[in-house]
Symmetry: C2
Subunit: 199 residues, 2 copies
């Protein structure tokens, strides 16, 4: 007989992710959380030390997922359009595979204590830098239009991949790959129909 159950601490984090994402961090009481796990409020503190510890761990976990997904791409030698496509896929996949913690990440990071707050802000800057680098590369190598504003372009890309946490539904007929390919096609090629002839 093997022990197939997740460690209790992980169960607590899973429940917390779900409840925090549905109701928000402050609107979820420790008794709500305990009830979701079939225990009494005070019992939680045998496994964790504070409510904020849960938030910190959920947010850190999400950050780490984005990092792992994107930074292996950083050094790879491929055309910028292909790299953008792959980055968007990985980014959306992290969101799609972690809808709860991604939602907590985007909504509740403001409630972190200064130290953890600073870490998240730093993470955000790192991701920004990743996309700006990618776009700069694309402009320099001639893959992307030369007149792109790097900052605005990366905002546009980040909008597309981040906003997915609001509408994406796992288990539907659209996987992260499909979403990324469609978004990348539209972003790279544009929405406008090709003109048949020039006047």
């Amino acid at each position: 007989m093997t022990d197939t159950a997740k460690p209790r601490r992980e169960q607590i984090l899973d429940s917390a992710s779900r409840l925090f994402s549905e109701r928000g961090y402050h609107a979820t009481s420790m008794r709500d959380l305990a009830g979701d796990l079939g225990m009494q409020g005070g019992s939680l503190y045998a496994h964790i030390s504070s409510k904020e510890e849960l938030l910190i761990e959920i947010v850190n976990q999400a950050s780490r997922q984005f990092d792992t997904a994107l930074f292996t791409l950083r050094g790879e030698a491929m055309p910028a359009d292909q790299k953008l496509r792959e980055a968007m896929y990985r980014h959306i996949r992290v969101v799609a595979d972690n809808m709860d913690s991604a939602t907590v990440f985007f909504h509740e990071w403001k409630h972190l204590s200064p130290e953890a707050y600073a870490r998240v802000t730093g993470w955000r800057d790192t991701i920004d830098a990743f996309y700006r680098e990618l776009i700069t590369q694309g402009v320099q190598e001639g893959t992307f239009r030369a007149d792109l504003d790097i900052k605005m372009t990366s905002y546009l890309v980040l909008s597309a991949v981040n906003w997915a946490y609001t509408w994406y539904r796992p288990g539907g007929n659209l996987g992260p790959r499909d979403v990324a390919e469609q978004f990348a096609d539209m972003l790279l090629g544009g929405l406008r129909a090709p003109t048949g002839e020039r006047p």
Copy 2:
């Protein structure tokens, strides 16, 4: 002597928008809010009836702004690319001019009571429908690529205009018009550099 001060009720709503957007609805106490206005907690209830009333009013106000901005565009006869450009401008302008209530709108609508919650969900559907209609028009008239997926395209556009609440800073050197023009240029024309010749 004219009375230049805003009515107290509006002041309360302004403060509430700011505090709710910074700290979140549940993390803002009525005493925080009262303190921000230089009064005692209980005194607020001379002007309002409940905390949720504030949230409802802030969210409704934001909804109304989006409605007013977009629905006058609905019937206008113009090419879809131009209409998309204008819609994005108006949408971003509402966000930019109402950063606080827009943030509350996007983050705190889940905490509304069922009735108000349903109203917001309905609003969301209406805005979705507006953009899908616009894109459908563009495909039908040949302005947009024929192979666009209407739903995905509208998600992409909505991502761009909505996500602005996270990064836009009013008073900077970038007005809503600038942002919208740049986003529309990129979305319509694509990021990829035009190929000089075909192989």
